[in-house]
C-alpha cells in the first residue's frame, strides 16, 4: 500500500515539476518581449522614465540574471509562497489576490463536480433500464455535453435571470451587501450561486449519464449477470452488482475530466462575473498581468493534482482488487 502511494506521489511531484518548468519557460521562449510590452503600456515618451521602467521590469521578471539562476530563484520563491506581485492590483502579492478568489471557485466547482457525477451516474443507470427512458435521456445528454459551458451559462442567465427575473445576473453577492457571517448574506450568496452552479451541473451531467449508460449496458451483458439471472436472482440485485462494477471506470473518468471541468468553471465565472479564478484570469489577460496569470496556472495545477490524488485514494477504497494487488495477492 505504501509503495503504491509513494509511486503515485512521485508521479504527481514529477508532474508538478514539469508544470512549474513549463510555467517558467513560456515567458522566456515565446516570441515577443513582455518587458517591452509592459513599458509600452505605460505610454511614456520620456527616455529616463522608459529606462527606469525597463530596468524595473527586467529585475521583476528576473531577466538580468543568468538563466539557471532565474530557474532556481523561481523554485525558491515558489516554496516560500511568493508568486510574485500583481501588476493589475499593484502592489498586492499574487498569492493574496488568488486566495481571495479561491473560495468562490471552490464553492462553485466542488458541489458541481460531485453532484453532477452522482446525478449523472444515477440518470445513466436509469436510462440503461428502459428503452423509453433511453430514447429521451440519451439524445438530451448528447446535446448537453456538446454545448459549450459559457453558452449554457449565457442561456440560463438570459432565461432564468433576465427574462424570468428569478436569479441575479452577475456577481458573487449583491452590490449593496457587505460580506459578513449573517444569514442574510449567506442567502444572498446562495442566490448568486445557483445559476453558475446549474450551468456547470447540466453540461457535466450529460457526459456522466452517457458514460454510465454505456457501462451499465456492458455490465448487464457480462457473464456474471447472465449467470445470476439464470439462477433466478431478482433483477434489482443484478442491477446493483452491475452498477457497482460500472462505477469504477467512472471514477477514473472523473480524474480524466478534471481539466475540462476546471476550464468550464473558469468560463462560467466569466459569464456571471463571479469573483472566482475565472474573472481573475480574464482581468489578468485584459491587463497583461503575467504574474497573476502564472500564479493562477500554478494554483490550478496544484488543485488538479490534489484532486487526482484524492480520487486515487477513493479508487483504492472502492475497488478491493487494488488492495489485494498491493498486498501481493491475486485478484
Amino acid at each position: 500500500m505504501r509503495r503504491y502511494f509513494a509511486r503515485k506521489l512521485l508521479a504527481y511531484a514529477l508532474t508538478f515539476a514539469v508544470a512549474v518548468t513549463v510555467n517558467w519557460m513560456i515567458p522566456r521562449f515565446m516570441p515577443g518581449d513582455p518587458v517591452a510590452s509592459m513599458v509600452a503600456r505605460a505610454g511614456s515618451s520620456q527616455p529616463e522614465a522608459v529606462d527606469a521602467m525597463r530596468s524595473y521590469y527586467t529585475r521583476l521578471f528576473g531577466f538580468d540574471q543568468p538563466v539557471w539562476q532565474q530557474y532556481l530563484h523561481f523554485w525558491s520563491a515558489l516554496f516560500q509562497g511568493d508568486f510574485g506581485v500583481s501588476i493589475w492590483v499593484f502592489p498586492k502579492p499574487v498569492s493574496e489576490v488568488i486566495l481571495d478568489a479561491l473560495p468562490y471557485t471552490l464553492g462553485l466547482m466542488i458541489p458541481a463536480i460531485l453532484l453532477s457525477w452522482f446525478a449523472g451516474n444515477w440518470l445513466g443507470a436509469l436510462a440503461a433500464r428502459r428503452k423509453v427512458l433511453d430514447n429521451t435521456v440519451l439524445p438530451a445528454s448528447y446535446l448537453l455535453t456538446a454545448m459549450p459551458y459559457m453558452w449554457v451559462a449565457v442561456i440560463l442567465a438570459w432565461a432564468l435571470g433576465s427574462k424570468a427575473g428569478w436569479f441575479p445576473l452577475s456577481g458573487g453577492y449583491s452590490l449593496d451587501v457587505q460580506p459578513n457571517w449573517s444569514l442574510d448574506f449567506l442567502l444572498d450568496l446562495l442566490h448568486h450561486w445557483v445559476l453558475p452552479f446549474l450551468s456547470l451541473f447540466l453540461v457535466a451531467l450529460g457526459g456522466w449519464a452517457i458514460g454510465m449508460r454505456n457501462m451499465i449496458i456492458y455490465e448487464l451483458e457480462s457473464d456474471y449477470s447472465s449467470y445470476l439471472s439464470a439462477l433466478g436472482a431478482p433483477q434489482r440485485l443484478i442491477r446493483r452488482y452491475a452498477f457497482r462494477n460500472a462505477v469504477l471506470p467512472q471514477i477514473t473518468g472523473l480524474a480524466l475530466q478534471l481539466g475540462v471541468l476546471v476550464a468550464g468553471a473558469l468560463v462560467t465565472e466569466i459569464v456571471f462575473a463571479y469573483p472566482g479564478l475565472g474573472s481573475l484570469i480574464l482581468a489578468a489577460i485584459q491587463n497583461q498581468d503575467f504574474f497573476l496569470l502564472q500564479g493562477t496556472f500554478l494554483f490550478i495545477v496544484i488543485g488538479v493534482l490534489i484532486a487526482n490524488f484524492v480520487i486515487d485514494l477513493v479508487y483504492v477504497v472502492v475497488d478491493p482488487r487494488t488492495r489485494t494487488g498491493m498486498a501481493g495477492g491475486t485478484a
Partner: protein, 297 residues
C-alpha cells in the same frame, strides 16, 4: 406442387468488407443525421461568405442592435455589424481550428500510442509517464499561458497548440488497442519476415484499427472546437478574424445579455453545439456500423 421455401439469403454475405460497411453505414440513422448536419454547416461555412454582399464581416452595415429581420437574418450587433455574415465566417474558422487541432492531436496520439503499445517495456514506461504528465496538467491552463504571451494569434497557431495539448487520452486508448493487436499471428509473421517497427505499425496494426482511429479523430475534432471556443471566449482567440467563440466573447463584452440581444449570443453557441453534437452522434453511429454487436436491427 408448391416450391420448397428458400432460406433467406443475407444480402451482405455477397459483399466485400468495405461495401458491407458502407451498406450498414447508409442505413444507420445516427450516422446519417450526424454527418448531414456537419456537412450542411461545413457547406454553409464554405459557400456562405462567398454569396454575401460584402466580404468583411466586421463592417458596420446596418442599424445598431436590430432584431432578426428580412434584411439581416440574424440581426445586427451593437455596432451594426451583420451577425449572419459573422456567423458564416466564424463557421470557417471553427472548422479550420477543429480540423487542424484534431489532426495534430491525432498524429501525436498515434505516434506515441503505437510506439508505447507495440514496443512495450521501457519505451512504454517512459511514454506512459510522459502521457500521464501531459494528461494531468489542465490543457486550458497551459493554453492560457501560451496564448497570453503570444503577441499575434492566428487560427493555425491556435489549432497547433490545441493539438499539442489534447492528445493524451487518445494516446492511451490507442496504446491499449495496440496491446491487444500486437500479439496476433499476422504481426508475428511480419516481424519474422524482417519488417521494421514502423512498417509493421503502419502496414499491419493501423489498418486493423482504422475504424477506431477514425472515431478517435472525430472526437478530437469536436474536442478541439470546444477548447478553441473557450479560448476565444476568454479573450485569447485569433487577434483578427471572426470565429464563433469570438462572437460569444463580443456578445458578452458588449452586454448583449443585459440588453436582451438574444440574436447575438444564441446563434454562435447553437452553431458550436450543432457541430459538436452532430459529431458525437455520428460517432455513436459509426461505432454501431463498425461493431456488429452494437447493431440494433
Amino acid at each position: 406442387m408448391s416450391a420448397l421455401p428458400q432460406p433467406a439469403v443475407d444480402v451482405t454475405e455477397t459483399l466485400s468488407p468495405g461495401r458491407e460497411t458502407l451498406h450498414y453505414a447508409i442505413r444507420n440513422p445516427k450516422l446519417l443525421i450526424g454527418f448531414t448536419v456537419v456537412i450542411a454547416l461545413l457547406l454553409l461555412g464554405l459557400v456562405g461568405p462567398l454569396v454575401l454582399d460584402n466580404s468583411d464581416p466586421m463592417e458596420y452595415v446596418g442599424p445598431q442592435a436590430a432584431a432578426p429581420s428580412g434584411d439581416y437574418w440574424l440581426g445586427t450587433t451593437t455596432f451594426g455589424q451583420d451577425i449572419y455574415a459573422q456567423f458564416v465566417h466564424g463557421l470557417r474558422a471553427t472548422f479550420e481550428v477543429g480540423a487542424l487541432g484534431g489532426a495534430i492531436a491525432a498524429a501525436i496520439a498515434m505516434v506515441i500510442g503505437f510506439l508505447a503499445g507495440y514496443r512495450g517495456g521501457m519505451t512504454d514506461e517512459i511514454l506512459n509517464m510522459f502521457t500521464n504528465i501531459v494528461l494531468v496538467i489542465p490543457a486550458l491552463a497551459v493554453l492560457l499561458i501560451i496564448n497570453a504571451y503570444l503577441g499575434v494569434r492566428s487560427v493555425s497557431v491556435q489549432g497547433l497548440f490545441i493539438g499539442l495539448t489534447s492528445w493524451p487520452w487518445a494516446a492511451r486508448a490507442i496504446r491499449a488497442q495496440t496491446f491487444t493487436l500486437r500479439s496476433r499471428d499476422f504481426v508475428d509473421l511480419a516481424r519474422l519476415s524482417g519488417c521494421r517497427t514502423w512498417r509493421i505499425i503502419f502496414r499491419e496494426i493501423a489498418p486493423n484499427m482504422s475504424s477506431y482511429l477514425f472515431m478517435m479523430f472525430i472526437l478530437l475534432f469536436g474536442g478541439s472546437i470546444l477548447v478553441a471556443a473557450s479560448l476565444d471566449f476568454i479573450g485569447l482567440g485569433p487577434t483578427d478574424g471572426v470565429s464563433l467563440g469570438l462572437m460569444l466573447q463580443s456578445a458578452q463584452q458588449w452586454s448583449a445579455l443585459q440588453l436582451g440581444m438574444w440574436w447575438w449570443f444564441v446563434p454562435p453557441g447553437a452553431g458550436i453545439t450543432a457541430i459538436v453534437g452532430a459529431l458525437y452522434v455520428a460517432n455513436v453511429g459509426l461505432d454501431e456500423v463498425f461493431n456488429p454487436k452494437l447493431r440494433e436491427s
